[in-house]
């Protein structure tokens, strides 16, 4: 089933054909005793999906929480849908939908009751869209939240997040713990959501295969710092996968290989595309890396 999402009143910028940034994060900082978010900056234009990746503890959830004013920032600014946090927090929360994967809201409450309470807070709740999404995902309104499967819980959370007609969806690990079929259902839904060019999704995950299917942009965070924020293809073409025999390696070359792993048969790792000529001169096997390859090698210690 194809679901048509309501379009919001279009700003003057958009009516003239210009696309606006639904996310603008500039120099965001948050200090904990054992962890720091340092100068996080990225932006996302309407009509696109951005994958927000990094290993567990890299700062993905902290960034999202700071963006939503769930945590107080120690510096920087956040603009969502052209409005600023914390000044326009309530309007932003009307225009942004959130899903936190793995969080069971009110496990003992019936789905219908949670929905009834939730919709009373939103000025643009679309009951028809909610019903369509629940029919599509076969969500039983009479079940308690805890009786839903892990996949159903996320689908229900997504249905609720989409039903108040948000322009932007912010998803924190929504597909973690789901089977491939459930993940595919969601990815298809996300693609439909942005198809009209007016909506966007920021999708935090460490399951990079989902992003291979649907993301247009990748923002990579490591140890609280943004390593890259660019188009997915640009990000991938920045790196090449290399492999070879041990005798092909030299100390200089080892310094150029990211996440070098030596094994009995030889070695494998990642190199910057700028160093491709060097890899070719030394006869390395060269391949195009997946997002997962890049992430694994960047995070390898």
């Amino acid at each position: 089933m194809y679901i048509q999402y309501t379009q919001y009143a279009i700003t003057s910028d958009i009516s003239q054909g210009a696309k606006m940034n639904l996310i603008e994060v500039n120099g965001l900082c948050k200090n904990f005793d054992s962890f720091k978010l340092k100068d996080v900056s990225f932006s996302l234009e309407q009509g696109f999906i951005m994958g927000f990746i990094g290993r567990n503890g890299a700062g993905k959830s902290t960034t999202l929480k700071c963006m939503l004013n769930l945590m107080n920032n120690d510096g920087g600014s956040v603009n969502l849908c052209g409005l600023s946090i914390p000044k326009d927090e309530i309007e932003i929360k009307n225009q942004v939908g959130y899903v936190f994967g793995g969080v069971d809201f009110y496990p003992e409450a019936k789905i219908s009751r949670i929905t009834k309470v939730t919709k009373s807070f939103y000025k643009d709740w679309n009951n028809e869209l909610y019903k369509n999404l629940c029919d599509r995902f076969e969500i039983d309104q009479n079940k308690k939240f805890k009786q839903l499967s892990a996949g159903m819980k996320v689908k229900y959370s997504v249905a609720v997040a989409m039903s108040h007609n948000p322009r932007l969806l912010i998803l924190d690990e929504p597909t973690s713990g789901l089977d491939p079929a459930a993940r595919d259902d969601l990815v298809l839904l996300f693609q439909e959501f942005i198809e009209d060019g007016e909506h966007s999704i920021l999708f935090s995950t460490h399951i990079t295969s989902d992003l291979e299917k649907c993301a247009d942009y990748i923002t990579y965070i490591k140890n609280g710092q943004i390593l890259a924020s660019t188009e997915k293809e640009n990000f991938r073409t920045c790196y090449i996968s290399v492999a070879g025999k041990k005798d092909q390696l030299s100390t200089d070359l080892e310094g150029k290989i990211i996440g070098l792993h030596k094994h009995q048969l030889g070695f494998e790792g990642l190199m910057k595309t700028d160093d491709k000529a060097l890899a070719e001169q030394n006869g390395f096997e060269i391949a195009s890396p997946s997002l997962e390859d890049i992430m694994i090698h960047i995070e390898r210690r």
Binding site: L70, N72, E91, V103, F121
Partner: protein, 250 residues
């Protein structure tokens, strides 16, 4: 009241800890029906209901759910305070019903502590004020960990309970001593009280626990003081909690 605060209050009732809270309310009411019982124990069950409302936040992720809604943080605190206040006022309503039942049946004088008098309501409001200041006034530093804080606030509740009951126990102690004398008891009580200064524990106890209409009218200042302390502590506690919750990182 702004509509979102009202919606949040409805959310507290529909998605919160209402089912379990009703059990505590029934326990509270049951205590008022027991003849000769320390009646401050009944409303203590209400403080348990309040603590459990916060304790169940952890499993229901209530805090995260609420702050993601298009509401201000201060409104979520306001709604929770209204919800807790509602239960505290309910305890007093139940006490009032208990007092009516005592009057109609009638019950014997309460030898275990204070009768359900006008003064009792005032003193109970002071006990709730202390509980609120300690528990609600600090729980928003970390609303997911109410346990230790509840121990401190419950201790304060019990200390005040003993302080307020102490004069009444002295009064009942004096009466039980006079009963052993085997003479006209009402005359002996009046005589014994007159021999003591007005501020003696026995006289204060007599003042607090007397149930006749004239005495209850004389107890109105205690109720008035209770209402003022409760209202002031409520405002102070609310602003303190709202400030704490603004700073709280979820």
């Amino acid at each position: 009241m702004k509509s979102q605060t009202l919606n949040l209050l409805k959310k507290e009732i529909k998605l919160g800890n209402s089912t379990q809270s009703i059990c505590w309310v029934i326990c509270c009411f049951g205590m008022f029906l027991i003849p000769s019982y320390p009646y401050y124990v009944g409303p203590f069950y209400i403080t348990l209901a309040i603590m459990m409302t916060f304790a169940l936040n952890q499993s229901s992720h209530d805090i995260l759910y609420t702050v993601l809604l298009p509401v201000r943080k201060i409104d979520t605190v306001k709604a929770r305070f209204l919800y807790c206040g509602m239960y505290e006022i309910l305890a007093l309503v139940l006490a009032l019903i208990g007092a009516l039942i005592h009057h109609i049946l009638p019950y014997p004088d309460n030898a275990a502590g204070i009768n359900i008098t006008v003064a009792f309501f005032g003193l109970q409001l002071i006990v709730f004020s202390a509980f609120n200041l300690i528990f609600l006034g600090n729980v928003y530093k970390n609303p997911l960990k109410p346990g230790v804080l509840f121990m401190f606030s419950a201790a304060a509740y019990l200390v005040l309970f003993f302080i307020f009951e102490f004069p009444v126990w002295n009064y009942w102690g004096m009466i039980s001593g006079l009963k052993k004398g085997g003479f006209d008891l009402s005359w002996a009580i009046s005589d014994a009280l007159l021999r003591r200064p007005w501020y003696s524990l026995e006289n204060i106890g007599h003042y607090l626990t007397s149930t006749d209409m004239e005495s209850q009218i004389h107890q109105l200042p205690v109720l008035g003081i209770g209402v003022v302390i409760f209202a002031l502590s409520w405002l102070l506690t609310f602003h303190r909690a709202a400030r704490q919750f603004e700073k709280y990182d979820i």
